[in-house]
Amino acid sequence: MAEKGDNGIEVDGLVRDFKGGVRAVDGIDLRVAPGEIYGFLGPNGAGKSTTSLILTTLLPPTAGSARVAGLDVVHHGSEVRRLIGASLQDSALDPFLTGSEHMRLQSSLHGLPKPQREARGRELLAQVGLTEAAERKVGGYSGGMKRRLDLALALVHRPRLLFLDEPTTGLDPQSRAALWDEVRRLSVDGVTVFLTTQYLEEADALADRVGIIDHGRIVAEGTPAELKAAIGRPSVEAVPHDPGERERLAAVLERFGEPAAAASNGVAVRLPRGAGDLAEIVRAIDAENLQVADLRLHSPTLDDVFLAKTGRSLEGSAEDDDAEPAPETIPA
């Protein structure tokens, strides 16, 4: 079990520029407490992976500072690497080596004494459910198996901090759930987890706190509940069966709250007293003999938070023009 101690993350004014004037990270400040699962949420090209690469010492920052487990990532890179594990965006496996061979290679490179290597490898492979596939070449593994092996390799040297960069991208729901369980277990054991993701439900399900990044800057930070509550209360939206009744419907709803954004053929209001008013709203609509084609209750999501902060929806912003450049190929 990893010790709870100084295994947090502190980032101040972090900047990373690439050739061509691309600023992938534009002054990030954040704190991750020891033992916390911190979700770093944002669309493609927001700067999540670049931040991960800086914090894992694979890329130097252009400006600002970052301390991982109390050590500066620039000046104490090798010490930082001994304390962290990372499962980056690619599964980063050799298709011609078996699972066991990967474990042996990783453990020998981390300097585990020879007698311990086999045992540690078996232990971790069992932990991620790959014992039976251990002697098969990784080229024949499914996507979920590769991700699990990737996670196991990141844990070989019992790191105090774990960086997971989009760990469940491309996985089926079952594999995703299994990986989530593993991450939760690690957190219970005291490992600090820095999780980058573009999936709202992943951040919602796993993270103690979430930082939302867009265009290289953190636009919101807090627990998922805090973030959602901060942008407002639930809203109710109704679509009249007869479009001509829209104004009458709006008048009814506005008795319960302030108007909110709705579809072109509907009406919506925000409910200051919460979802408890829903029954009253239905009775009020019925009392006016209005017929509705659709009535929905919306609770704020992290996507709503992103929308409120950036004017765009997170789930529609995958085709962002300012995609992060591949950091290895075009340094500033």
Partner: protein, 259 residues
């Protein structure tokens, strides 16, 4: 804790060799093409031995030297491609996240290449025996051939590593294949330099370091112990290796920005 340099290099060398040996289609061109070209050219160019001044009556003994160079060229492509694939898949980053020393990253790869280069050389020596090439320098010469073959594969593969580190793309590395192969063709691979009648070709072959490598191997087969040819051959191999390693160090700076 971190592993010793020897452990790190050994682990990566082991992986490098395993990876190559588990990809038979990578070994196939290394063995097949030099062999087939040797067999074909030995017969097809036999008429060259009729030219006044041709140093031997056996064209196969003359031509076998080229097999070692061709094999080294394929090693260059395979090594570069494997490293580029590691970069593409992120495996390179995985290694960078360990306490691996920077020098170990490439040394491990190249030690594997040197071992494979020696194995290749043994195969070509045996091939030569099969097709009737006579090694004038005997068993001692065979050992020298193996050392020179290993050194040549190592030198060439270092340039393959440079290509991989600079481009990060296996497709780009393979696209460089014609460029590297030009050096074999524009050399004294098919005729001795004294019989290259086209002036520009003679000049190019004289300046081409590959000519001296080929002549180094060839001297052991045709002349036995030719000190000048051997010194030149080893000199070029070592020189190319040093140049290659310097270039690797330079290329690593942009590829591995690890703090």
């Amino acid at each position: 804790m971190s592993a010793s340099l020897i452990t790190q290099v050994g682990s990566l060398a082991q992986r490098s060799m395993l990876k190559t040996l588990r990809q038979p289609f990578q070994m196939f061109p290394i063995i097949f093409f030099p062999a087939i070209l040797l067999i074909i050219n030995a017969s097809g160019l036999h008429a060259a031995t009729l030219l006044p001044g041709f140093p031997t009556h056996s064209y196969v003994s003359f031509a076998i030297a080229v097999a070692f160079i061709q094999g080294a060229m394929f090693s260059l492509i395979n090594t570069g491609t494997n490293l580029a694939e590691d970069i593409e898949t992120g495996f390179f980053n995985r290694l960078a996240l360990t306490p691996l020393r920077r020098v170990s990253l490439i040394a491990g790869l190249l030690v594997g290449v040197a071992a494979l280069g020696a194995m290749q050389s043994v195969v070509y020596i045996l091939l030569g025996v099969l097709v009737g090439a006579h090694l004038d320098a005997g068993l001692g010469g065979a050992l020298v051939v193996i050392v020179l073959g290993s050194l040549t594969a190592l030198a060439f593969s270092s340039f393959g590593c440079v290509a991989a580190l600079r481009t990060g793309s296996s497709e780009a590395v393979q696209g460089l294949f014609p460029l590297f192969f030009v050096f074999i063709f524009l050399s004294s691979s098919n005729l001795p330099r004294s019989l290259l009648k086209t002036p520009w070709f003679h000049t190019v072959a004289t300046w081409n370091p590959i000519s001296y490598l080929i002549e180094g191997f060839r001297s052991l087969y045709i002349f036995g112990w030719d000190q000048t040819a051997l010194l030149r051959g080893f000199g070029v191999a070592i020189g190319l290796l040093l140049l290659g390693l310097l270039a690797v160090q330079w290329a690593m700076k942009t590829r591995l920005q690890r703090t």
